[in-house]
């Protein structure tokens, strides 16, 4: 497993501690401040600290470590408010007239406070100067505090990127970023394709490469992922999620191989390893000191070429252990039929689509080549659990997308 301490050059997830949706993936560098919303923050103090540490930014926008005890005291569920109210009648809002004038402090006043006081002191002042706070129900008071705490807290937490956090972050910032692959569907794919260390998987997944990263994470340091892409060449972001895992370069180089799908098509046509036109290999050992853009390009191309050759070699054995496919642009049927051919018998596959229709289109064709075919979706619900205020979240993502899963078999019947 990756190291526990934050080092320069690592990818980190930074977020405002009380605001999960504020998560951002950044590459942490010394003397390279980042912006969190409008807030400029210096990262120099995070190096050497452990992942998971919470910091508070001070007046210089440097980060100071906050200990957990301190953190617990700023927790949202303030004890005096969370005590069960029992059956006695609470205050209610019948006397509150909402005229937007309840806060006596001006915007400027608040700005002054913010520069002089800690966030909890700022909030304390806001409460004191809120004319309607006392009239509010305890629930409304809690809601008010929560809102203010979100707005004025200057706590940030630095987390080690992993697939769960990445998937959550990307999805919350726009599910189209990861082709609508919600964490619950991603989880089903990993299970149903029996993803484990040491085995060999075909993954079709471009965009931000979250599915590829998920399989890589489950391989540990051993196994193979052939990352198949349909674009003519690899897209700039197709390994972003894998890179974010901070794995050693050699580990990645030994496990992960990108391949354009037409190469696989050609492999399937020839039934032997194709000769790849080797435009770039000659320049592989070019002068590294001459760091022109051109030579870097050539090196990358050479690496990709080597990757592709290795991938084809592995595929040619037609003994892959699982196929995970995520395709939004193309009708998946002919792609699935092509890739399925490289799977060993009795190996599982999973096809994800944000739409049901292309999957039902696949279904009858796949019936000829697979058993245990199932079309499913999952329904993920998050709950607010607070004393006396527990309920499902009021807003949800209504669709996990659809999954078509099965196990490839050989249907030539053997007599016994």
């Amino acid at each position: 497993m990756a190291e526990d301490v934050i080092r320069e050059g690592y990818y980190v997830i930074i977020r405002r501690t009380h605001e999960r949706e504020s998560s951002r993936l950044i590459k942490a560098e010394m003397d390279k401040p980042v912006f969190l919303g409008k807030q400029k923050i210096h990262l120099n103090n995070i190096f050497g600290q452990r992942f998971g540490t919470t910091f508070e930014w001070n007046r210089n926008r440097d980060l100071d470590v906050v200990n957990v005890q301190q953190l617990a005291n700023t927790s949202l569920d303030l004890p005096q408010l969370s005590a069960p109210s029992g059956d006695n009648k609470d205050k209610d809002n019948r006397f509150i007239i909402d005229d937007g004038k309840s806060q006596k402090l001006s915007k400027d006043d608040i700005e002054v406070l913010k520069s002089e006081l800690s966030s909890s002191e700022v909030i304390e002042n806001l409460v004191k100067n809120c004319s309607t706070f006392e009239q509010k129900t305890s629930f409304a008071q809690q809601k008010y505090l929560k809102k203010k705490q979100k707005k004025y807290s200057n706590l940030v937490t630095i987390l080690r990127p992993n697939v769960r956090l990445l998937a959550e972050m990307y999805f919350s910032r726009g599910p189209q970023k990861i082709d609508y692959l919600r964490i619950d569907s991603l989880s089903q794919m990993l299970s149903l394709c029996n993803v484990m260390s040491g085995r060999r998987y075909i993954v079709l997944d471009t965009n931000l490469g979250i599915l590829t990263a998920a399989v890589v994470e489950r391989l540990g340091s051993s196994g193979t992922v052939i990352q198949v892409y349909t674009d003519p060449g690899p897209v700039s972001t197709y390994r972003q999620s894998v890179d974010a895992l901070n794995l050693p370069k050699e580990t990645i180089a030994n496990m992960l191989f990108g391949l354009q799908i037409n190469e696989i098509y050609r492999l399937s046509q020839s039934n032997s390893l194709p000769e790849m036109s080797d435009q770039s290999c000659g320049q592989q050992s070019g002068d590294k000191s001459e760091k022109t853009v051109e030579s870097e390009k050539l090196i990358r191309r050479a690496i990709r070429h080597k990757e592709a050759l290795k991938a084809l070699e592995i595929l040619a054995q037609k003994d892959m252990d699982g196929l995970l496919l995520l395709s939004k642009t193309y009708d998946p049927l002919n792609i699935v039929l092509l890739l399925l051919d490289f799977l060993a018998d009795s190996r599982p596959f999973a096809i994800f689509s944000p739409y049901m229709e292309p999957l039902s289109h696949c279904y009858s064709e796949l019936k000829k080549k697979a058993v245990f075919l199932r079309l499913t979706e999952t329904w993920l619900r998050k709950y607010q659990v607070l004393s006396d205020r527990s309920r499902p979240d009021m807003s949800m993502s209504p669709s996990s997308g659809y999954l078509l899963t099965g196990i490839k078999v050989n249907n030539n019947i053997i007599q016994c």
């Binding site: 700039s236 642009t329 009708d331």
Partner: protein
């Protein structure tokens, strides 16, 4: 007074409440008044131009056309002024069924809130039913009363300022059905019990939180209500789009340009849409496609789910009184 919500007319008249429809998310109620003007994003709509037009027509404005739609409680629910959190049609529909509402039912509602449910109840129990609706907020009760009058519902709905938690329902064995949308419904079960007809009177309580449901069910049990059921009814909307989803065109020769797709290590999450577009153009012009038998462009009607939708509104607890 135009009874816009409980009768249909062919032509728009003065005093009607009607809905100007631009799109499913742009529906506006107006009360037709001579001399008034209503501004839409498609341009101004003078009320005088509307009067005498047939309901359901498409009317040309400066920058587009709008439809004039007859009032229904469902359209009202989508566009009413929110004075409180409101109930939406999914829950409202289920509540009306669970309370066995029909023409002639005598119904009680607490609290009135923004009157979203009240309109649907009034429609369902009209013409001879009666709805008594209470709100503990005096101003809210008054506003609702005026709204019901404007909508020609005063014969059916009585809106009163009353705190049923403290003061009860003021009726004995009177209501066929009783609906509670209160923070502490369990505190009113005893007087609700008195107010309901003894032989099959139905009660329904709406509460967002589990703890409220627990206390309400316990109170209903204590008062010997029967068939106590708790439900949740959540809407799942779909969007539709007819879309062609091409099969991938495999190529047995290298027709793609690696130059177009240099990997770069930037962290910006640039969408690959432009690339995909480029790709499609390239493929279209490529002459080297091996079209295997099944490669064609499949036309699908794809159903989309929106990225976010309502996940929870509240729990509906229903029960019946037989005693």
């Amino acid at each position: 007074m135009a009874q816009s919500f409980i009768s249909y007319k062919r032509l728009v008249g003065v005093g009607d409440t009607l809905f100007v429809y631009l799109s499913p998310t742009n529906i506006y109620p107006i009360r037709v008044t001579t001399g008034s003007t209503f501004q839409t994003k498609y341009g101004a709509l003078r009320h005088d131009q509307i009067i005498g037009k047939p309901y359901g027509c498409a009317l040309q404005c400066a920058k587009g056309f709008v439809h004039l739609l007859h009032s229904t409680p469902e359209l009202w629910t989508l566009s009413l002024p929110h004075r409180t959190q409101i109930l939406y049609t999914t829950d409202i529909s289920f509540i009306c069924t669970q309370l066995d509402l029909r023409p002639g039912s005598v119904v009680c509602e607490a609290g009135t809130g923004s009157g979203s449910l009240s309109h649907a109840i009034a429609r369902t129990i009209a013409p001879n039913g009666r709805l008594v609706t209470y709100d503990f907020h005096e101003e809210r009760a008054a506003t609702a009363r005026q709204e019901f009058a404007d909508h020609g519902l005063s014969d059916i709905i009585t809106a009163e300022h009353r705190d049923v938690c403290c003061d009860g329902f003021a009726y004995t064995e009177y209501f066929d059905a009783l609906f509670l949308d209160l923070p502490h419904p369990w505190l009113t079960i005893s007087s609700a019990n008195r107010a309901l007809k003894p032989n099959g009177g139905r009660i329904c309580c709406f509460s967002p939180c589990v703890e409220q449901v627990q206390k309400t069910c316990a109170a209903l049990n204590d008062h010997h209500f029967l068939d106590i059921d708790t439900y949740e009814c959540v809407l799942r909307p779909y969007d539709l789009k007819t879309q062609s989803m091409p099969s991938y065109q495999f190529s047995s020769t290298k027709s793609y340009s690696e130059e177009n797709s240099e990997a770069n290590e930037a962290m910006d999450e640039k969408s690959d849409e432009s690339l995909a577009k480029k790709l499609r153009t390239e493929e279209d012009s490529s002459e080297k496609n091996d079209n295997s038998s099944d490669v064609k462009s499949n036309e699908y009607v794809l159903t989309y789910s929106p990225n976010q939708s309502t996940g929870h509104t509240g729990f509906l607890t229903v029960a019946v009184k037989y005693q």
